[in-house]
Amino acid sequence: MPLYLTDEQTMLRDTARDFVAEHAPVSHMRRLRDANDATGFSRDLWKQFAELGLTGILIPEADNGLGLGHVEAGVVIEEIGRNLSPSPFLTTAVAAVEALKGTPHAARWFPGILAGETVAALAIDERAKHDGCIEMKAERSGNGFRLTGAKQFVAHGHVADLLLVAATTEHGTTLFAVPTDANGLTADPQRLADASLAARLTFDGVEVDADAVVGEVDQAPLARLLAAGRTGASAELLGVGGGAMDMTVTYLKERKQFGQLIGSFQALQHRAAHLYSEMEVARAAVLKAQQLLDAGDERAADAVSVAKAMTSLATTLSVQEGIQMHGGIGMTDEYDIGFYMKRARVLAELFGDANFHADALAQAAGY
């Protein structure tokens, strides 16, 4: 498999690019923020995604989806990133679908996802840093389980129809599909720096049936869920970093100082060229991870960590350089570049930051 997009994938990207840029450009996100919107995204837009078939991108054809892979999901997410469009695509159509695939839950949840009606949220993290440590307990109770504990950084957690919750069971970790109206569950949505909403969830003895278990007890398909989520987040970071870089390079070609376009100054040219290099390397890392995941290759785990860490580093550079090279206007709320900075920080933190993933690589390499 060559490391570039096939013609079909390029066509899909162009479709997604046109669609997102037209229906959910940065101004869409700005409007939601200015209106202090309490949902965090547009349900209408989610339906339109469904009409294009995009919500079923990873859903198998046998379940009426498009049956495509992570490369295809990634090209859509990248456009979401480039336009800073608030969307449940990553959590629902990618991470949740990947976790539910091949389980009895597929029949229950996929139709709603395909219709653009169902939104899923991932309740994984319990601390300010993603560290894989799960203290939430799920104890056997009747024919089901009782969940006690708290989660945080749960995007769409206050409005989701389905919560995927990781909890500790007797001999391992189990993943539960929890309806959001369950007794004992409270959601406290918080607005984040990028104007998106993420909830703190409290589970106070929430009772779920045995069939809420996704996969097997003690064997949560967490690795699969996280690999999908991390790869998707990497693709979104690529979009954010690429969007910020494009804005910056355009600005360098327009802004004049000292009677010259600032883009003619070598100090800025070199930094822009360095930034371009970092973004290209990050792009290659993401495609590599997507392809290995799609091929079910055992090297995927390392590649996913490389992709998530590399895109976090490159995009952080892109937004920082973006603001600096814009000068004062880059600090204004009216100008969009600052939004890129905020979104990049949130995504860099999601599912493990660059240090977390570098540490994973070091452990895998045995040092």
């Binding site: 490391l3 570039y4 060229a273 290099s277 495609l287 860490a309 580093l313 690589l361 070091a362």
Partner: protein, 386 residues
């Protein structure tokens, strides 16, 4: 070629390599002396180096993707990739280091006459002639087109006069590919690309000692050297096209250094013995970049083969790969501590570690400096104004 054919090819290649690559050529090199360069008067630190070079040369596998008519292996891109993967799997050493392979060869394939190709390419493939590159001059480094070494028209030949500098291995090379001025009235449009024998009358070299303690570099002097016009590649005054094309390949080759060798990574080996947490973190973050760059290299090769790569992309590869390689060696030295400082001991792998570290500092200079690559990316890829 079908997938089953490729699988057969892989199996046969693996079997052949296992049978033919000497055990000694599957171990890490212990410094520059272990590299195989070939040439008229070849030097081998170990007799297996010659065996390995000859065996690979016979099959054309020193240049697997060149046409077999010119001494190559005639392999498709997919087969070439398989060969490289299988060599990496067995940790085979590079059978032949050669500026002929990585630089002159591609330029001759594109610009050479049929006679020139038949004369030079098979010898390059078999490592019979060692080449050096006569580009830089004392006053023409980054501003290469400012070169002054002259070639005056004397009928069927040129008379070449002038000086080159930084000519790697000029004292060991048999032939030189050289940029000379054939027209003083035009800067880039007055340069020609010529080939000549270093044994020609009037050629002399003087080695320059480097910080690594080695002296692969030379000053090279030309005093009325007679060069047949038949040795000119491409048209007169059109040498800059050839030079630039060749530089693209040189940059690609140098960027490959960012990938590290096939035989394990000394940096990670050292880290496994234990390093402080801050250094461990630096190494881990380096590993992120280095593995991402590996993916980038793969992508670049795939794009090149498909004719999709931006023509200035080798500049990005060169820039990123060489800066990365310098960091790798900086971290290797830090992880190895005082062991890696010993100039010639068992612990420092006979000085390979410190010398390699010093040598890598040139990666971001040779073949065009990092600053020049950034200029090219800014102008030609990002289209920033002058």
């Amino acid at each position: 070629m079908s997938d089953t054919d490729l699988e057969t090819f892989r199996a046969e290649t693996r079997a052949w390599l296992e049978a033919n690559c000497p055990e000694t050529m599957r171990t890490p090199m212990r410094g520059e002396k272990d590299a195989t360069w070939g040439g008229r008067n070849p030097e081998f630190a170990h007799p297996d180096q010659k065996l390995w070079m000859d065996r690979m040369g016979e099959r054309g596998w020193t240049v697997p993707d060149w046409p077999s008519a010119y001494g190559g292996g005639g392999l498709s891109p997919a087969e070439t990739k398989i060969l490289r993967e299988e060599m990496a799997r067995l940790k085979c050493r590079n059978p032949l280091n050669s500026f002929g392979i990585s630089m002159l060869g591609p330029a001759l394939l594109k610009y050479g006459t049929e006679e020139q190709k038949l004369e030079h390419l098979p010898r390059i493939a078999r490592g019979e002639i060692r080449w050096c590159q006569g580009y830089s001059e004392p006053n023409a480094g980054s501003d290469l087109a400012g070169l002054q070494a002259s070639a005056d028209d004397a009928g069927d030949h040129y008379i070449v006069n002038g000086q080159k500098v930084w000519t790697s291995y000029a004292d060991k090379a048999d032939w030189i590919f050289c940029l000379v001025r054939t027209d003083k009235s035009s800067k880039q449009g007055g340069i020609s690309f010529v080939l000549f024998d270093m044994a020609s009358e009037g050629v002399s070299t003087r080695p320059i000692l480097l910080i690594s303690g080695n002296s692969p570099f030379c000053e090279t002097f030309f005093d009325n050297v007679k060069v047949p016009k038949a040795n000119r590649v491409h048209d007169e005054n059109k040498g800059w096209d050839v030079a630039k094309y060749l530089l693209g390949h040189e940059r690609e080759m140098i960027s490959g250094m960012g990938l590290g060798g096939p035989a394990g990574d000394p940096m990670i080996d050292a880290a496994r013995k234990g390093v402080d947490p801050i250094l461990r973190g630096q190494i881990a973050l380096f590993q992120v970049r280095s593995q991402a760059f590996k993916a980038m290299s793969e992508r670049f090769i795939d794009e090149l083969k498909a004719g999709r790569a931006h023509p200035a992309q080798p500049s990005m590869m060169k820039y990123y790969g060489t800066e990365l390689n310098k960091t790798r060696h900086e971290l290797t030295m830090a992880a190895g501590g005082s062991d890696t400082l010993e100039w010639d001991s068992e612990a420092s792998n006979h000085g390979a570690a410190p010398r390699a570290w010093l040598r890598t500092k040139a990666n971001s200079i040779e073949g065009g400096t990092s600053e020049i690559q950034l200029n090219i990316i800014a102008k030609r890829i990002l289209d920033l104004p002058s």
